[in-house]
Amino acid sequence: MIACVLIPGFELRAALRSRPGLELEPAALVPEPGTEALLGPVTVAAEAEGVRAGMRLGEALAACPQLVLVDPDPAAVEREWEGVLRRLEDAGIAVEPVEPGVVVFETRGVERLYGGVAAALRRALAAVGTAWDPRAGAAGRRFAALAAASVARPGQILVVEEKDERDFLAPLPLTLLPLPRERYAELEGLGVRRLGELAALPGGAVAERLGPEGRRAWQLARGGERRRVHGRAPAVELAEALSFPEAVANELTLRRALAALLARLLARPERAGRPLRKVALAARLVTGGSWRRTVTLREATAEQARLRAALGPKLADLPAPVLELRLEAVELAEHTGTQLALVEPGGKELEGRLREGLRQVRASTGTGSVCAVVEVAPWSRIPEARALVVPRDV
């Protein structure tokens, strides 16, 4: 069976870890800057005041003037979520994280260890910890397991047998499906309010009316596809941090700090010569929140210059001055060397590679970033009249 452990509102709970008193107050996670002004998860006290996740900010403040707005803390989310996953792994469970607050795993490996599915799920909930109010569900397919965990109460375990899945899903609300808000409204307008009602419709008609996302939702309402759970590769614990005596906003200083962090990280003996595949840059901000960006490198590397080139531009996204900069090696490659070509590529192959490289530059930096030099008057005595730089599409 596939099991799912769910912690609703994980981002808010993680952000409130550093402000413990607020858990019992009406509080809500504010949206990320630059996104639509819709509230994130809310506390139970806020729900009691009529505030709901996904509500407009102005509407929520009108309903509950004493609502405390909590800034997102992605670094805390990452840290706490990693802690939850490691505790589950320590219990012998090979986890596949879906998103912060949702993790799935295959129960077959731990059923015999703990004496049954229910016992394994109880162990998983204990490993997560009661402070997070986790709930668990198990079923033959992922979506049914997620649905079971979604309707379970905190600390409860809900196991749905494979033969009962369709009956179990039928009365559940459509909000369990990953659909945009306007789609729910559209479906409600058509009189479809439950998963069973959606599942009963012909698949072709749903796809025609709602497009590919509607088709996917229809498939999920019927239980979803059978996909195996792949336990994640154990995360590496390689990180370097640099604290500043006072908040820093100067990009040059931050770039120097990044270079120092890279040098320290690459010198760590635990790396054992393996190049970095995925790195994360995190910062503690002077405003009290945090910031984090993850970069997956197209080609794993341990070259400082290439890593600096990949991470440096991210520093420009920092929303506020920084108190601490942290660099984490999220994933290391398994190999220690790079296979070089015996014969240097030439002719069409080289041209193809060059074209592909230019295409990638253009895709990442936008139109006009790839230019050609066109000679217009090479004989001219005026240097700037000899050639033009003309943007070109690759």
């Binding site: 139109t367 240097p383 700037e384 000899r386 050639a387 730089v389």
Partner: protein, 87 residues
């Protein structure tokens, strides 16, 4: 120079950039971008397009600065300003 419509801009290669130059009485540069000139390697004039609305009258100097850097600057006699440019 701008391309037509909203497309990306076409620009001149090696366009001159304004330079901060202090000159001797004879017109040769003494300081270029706050660096002392230690050697004037070459000097030449470009006079062109005198028959048009935009005549060109430049006095070029290829110099070596105290940091060891080579620089090429010119004084535009029409505008009365100094520019740096790779000749």
């Amino acid at each position: 120079m701008r391309g037509a419509g909203r497309g990306p801009a076409t620009s001149r290669l090696n366009a001159p950039r304004p330079a901060l130059v202090e000159a001797h009485v004879d017109g040769s540069p003494r300081l270029v971008n706050r660096q002392r000139v230690v050697l004037v390697r070459e000097e030449w004039r470009v006079v062109d397009r005198w028959w048009t609305e935009e005549p060109v009258n430049r006095r070029y100097f290829e110099v070596v600065l105290e940091s060891g850097e080579n620089a090429c600057v010119y004084r535009d006699a029409e505008a009365g300003c100094w520019f740096s440019q790779r000749a």
